[in-house]
């Protein structure tokens, strides 16, 4: 199929492209930008006037719940939500049931995503078997099955010797180590940031040091081992500052932040709003502003959704007894666009933090519109205002604190490998 996307403002940070250009796609690949190749006859013409045309979004962290928790969501249901949100590549953590500690589970996830055909899924492999933090997983086999990185998620590897060996083993096979930095002993059974709101509500706290202690320990090992390491979901400004210093020293480290940590703070938990129960916890206003600054400076390279769909009951209990996480695929782009309005990022930087940079971190061919590349494209109307309501969400999970927020920016078309997988019909 040949597609011509005409009249839109094409932004492709990888190639420094920003202008009103036509994009030409043939046989699933980008073939030209600007002038039509000789003899190009489009089977499908998409009018993108007043729209922005950019690479399909790459989300570094989205829980799809399959296999194991299909009562919450499935790969098929969340792929639909991803396409609706303009996301064409997403990385799912290894915390499925069973975890992604064998090539069989990794292949199963990839196959089911291919069957759904709406977004590409790249699973992270588990660093240890059963995520137990003790025995190494068969990382070479995971790499072969399609994993580009490994992680132990929040099931932290407590013994630093085992962590060091896991990192060395991962480095052997050119795998990126994804780290969710939270010291489990300092975090204890905490549910919110250990600060003013925690004191007021009498909830148990997770101190900022739970993150900084884990980041510091991990950076020391990275320095020794030299393994490519990605810090997922930073919540404190201090941790970002530590990573900035490490990057300055030449360590191969990167970081991301969730969209909700760039907008919400501990104060949103007042009133015991379980929709704001997330891990790592929402921190102070100063942390939120600090994360925004480190994002603007590029220390934090990417914005992710940390999508965690839940059934309604998971949030229907007193705060501390509810499950953590936000259903976030469909708000990733609008919440990121809000950062442009807030003067944190330029539009081009914002798009880079959702496309090119996460694609590089994940080590996949995506996130750019270079001719010859797979044509994963997101087209959105940056001026479209809409109010988030439950019935607008395609994800199985309706758990979001952003209900009733007026959002700006709406995806109108998503193309995966040159094939339209979503079109917004007004």
């Amino acid at each position: 199929m040949r597609v011509r996307i005409s009249g839109g403002r094409v932004i492709d940070p990888a190639n420094d492209v920003d202008g009103r250009l036509d994009l030409f796609i043939a046989d699933g690949k980008v073939v030209a930008l600007g002038r039509a190749p000789d003899g190009f006859a489009a089977d499908l013409q998409i009018d993108a006037t007043h729209r922005i045309v950019c690479p399909g979004l790459v989300d570094l962290r989205a829980h799809l719940r399959e296999p194991g928790q299909e009562h919450k969501a499935t790969i098929a249901s969340e792929s639909r939500a991803a396409a609706y949100g303009g996301i064409t590549t997403l990385c799912c953590p290894p915390t499925t049931q069973p975890p992604v500690d064998s090539p069989a589970v990794a292949s199963l996830i990839i196959r089911r995503a291919e069957a759904a055909g709406l977004t590409r899924v790249v699973p992270l492999g588990a660093m240890t078997r059963g995520l137990d933090g003790k025995r190494l997983s068969e990382m070479a086999a995971l790499r072969q099955a399609g994993c580009t990185g490994v992680s132990n998620d929040f099931g932290t590897i407590e013994n630093p010797l085992i962590l060091a060996r896991a990192m060395e083993y991962a480095a052997t096979f050119d795998l990126t180590v994804f780290v969710n930095a939270q010291d489990p002993r300092l975090a204890g059974n905490g549910t919110v940031h250990d600060g003013a709101v925690c004191s007021r509500l009498g909830l148990s706290g997770i101190p900022a040091a739970a993150e900084t202690v884990a980041v510091a320990g991990c950076l020391a090992l990275v320095e020794q081992i030299g393994v490519r390491t990605h810090f997922s979901l930073l919540s404190t400004a201090r941790a970002a500052q530590m990573i900035a210093r490490a990057q300055h020293d030449g360590l191969p480290v990167t970081a991301d932040v969730s969209a909700h940590h760039l907008h919400l703070t501990e104060n949103d938990v007042l009133d015991f709003d379980s929709q704001c129960h997330v891990i790592p916890p929402l921190r102070t206003l100063r942390d939120r502003d600090g994360l925004r600054q480190w994002l603007a400076r590029g220390t934090i390279a990417a914005i992710c959704s940390d999508h965690q769909p839940h059934e309604a009951d998971a949030k229907l209990a007193p705060f501390g007894e509810t499950e953590t996480g936000i259903s976030a695929l469909e708000t990733l782009l609008p919440l990121s666009l809000r950062l442009v309005d807030d003067g944190v990022l330029t539009l081009n930087e914002m798009i880079a933090s959702l496309t090119l940079r996460p694609a590089r971190i994940l080590g996949v061919e995506a996130g750019d519109l270079t001719p010859g590349r797979r044509a994963d494209v997101c087209i959105f109307d940056p001026e479209h205002y809409w109010v988030l309501s439950r019935d607008r969400l395609l994800s199985r999970g309706h758990n979001t604190p952003f209900l009733d927020w007026e959002l700006k920016g709406r995806v109108t078309h998503t193309l995966l490998g040159g094939v339209p997988v979503f079109e917004h019909k007004p």
Partner: protein, 327 residues
């Protein structure tokens, strides 16, 4: 989520009593005045008023309690309500029923008020948020968050002994971190406009950013008690030695236990309070607990009248101005 004040109805009247935070001073004063009038009821030979006749009140206790539950029961009966005591430790939740299911089942039996105690912070808010329109919820203690009826009876006791609030300096001593009572007292004292609130304890037992609650933090008992009018000491749970909050009860008593000698810097007429049950020789010396300045038993005695006032207020059965008509 609806961010309106959950405790008030559309007319600004009290509907649920979950936390002192966010309630107006006048409302607290109304409750204290009403409690004053109810103390005369509890001293009569016929100790009943018909304000809640025909109403059904459920004491829904997910955490064991003797005194609080008993005074709530007594308060409800003296208001002529029918009372149901449900100890949920032993029943539904152990069978896997959720909190919401338990609540809906009881609502289906047409109860009018839930008095809730739960080990998790925010449980009373959760129940109130999901309550049927005709149901009121009274928080009888949720986790470390709030125990507003205890705070109100403490305020009642303070007012009886000290009169006005605005000139008072109040010190709260001990495990503030884990105390729902302390949190509610702090909100009540600041709403009622005392001059100064201090909290005294080692840093391990003072919550993060405690100053944002409007208190001065002290780590030295004698300095913290200087010139105070009211001293509230909190119960120290034995479990605190386990979590590395404290080395020993012995050292705690040496540093923060209330003894006659330790009280020297406080005002000579300072009163000593304790929400109970007391650990003699841990947070308070017997000579102080049983001494002339102790009002600990007054606190217990006032529990019923204050809870009657709160229940009547939440069911909007308190005529305004409340005290006058009942006399």
């Amino acid at each position: 989520m609806d961010k309106r004040n959950l405790q008030l109805d559309d007319n600004g009247q009290l509907r649920h009593f979950l936390t002192i935070e966010g309630l107006k001073r006048q409302l607290l004063v109304d409750i204290l005045d009403a409690a004053e009038s109810f103390t005369s009821v509890t001293e009569q030979t016929v100790k009943k008023v018909p304000l809640l006749r025909g109403k059904t009140i459920v004491n829904l206790f997910f955490e064991s309690s003797t005194r609080t539950r008993t005074t709530f029961e007594l308060a409800a009966k003296r208001l002529s309500a029918d009372v149901l005591n449900i100890n949920v430790n032993a029943s539904a939740t152990t069978k896997g029923e959720t909190l919401l299911d338990t609540q809906r089942n009881l609502e289906a039996m047409h109860c009018d008020m839930f008095v809730v105690r739960h080990a998790v912070s925010g449980a009373a808010h959760f129940i109130a948020r999901h309550a049927a329109p005709h149901v009121s919820v009274i928080n009888a203690g949720d986790g470390r968050h709030s125990h507003p009826t205890q705070a109100m009876l403490d305020m009642f006791t303070i007012r009886r002994h000290k009169g006005e609030f605005h000139k008072l300096r109040v010190a709260i001593v001990g495990d503030i971190l884990h105390s729902r009572v302390a949190r509610s007292q702090i909100h009540a004292l600041s709403t009622l406009g005392v001059e100064e609130i201090r909290v005294i304890g080692p840093r391990t037992l003072i919550p993060a950013e405690a100053h944002t609650l409007g208190v001065h933090v002290h780590h030295d008992l004698r300095g913290g008690l200087r010139d105070v009018d009211v001293i509230i000491t909190l119960r120290l749970q034995h479990e605190r030695m386990g979590g590395a909050f404290l080395p020993s009860e012995h050292e705690y008593f040496q540093l923060y236990g209330l003894t006659e000698a330790g009280l020297e810097t406080a005002k000579p007429d300072a009163i000593i309070m304790h929400p109970g049950p007391i650990n003699r020789g841990v947070e308070i010396d017997s000579a102080v607990a049983d001494g002339p300045r102790s009002v600990i038993l007054d606190q217990v005695a006032h529990g019923t009248a204050v809870r009657m006032a709160i229940m009547a207020k939440a069911m909007q059965r308190l005529p305004t101005p409340p005290a006058r008509e009942l006399h």
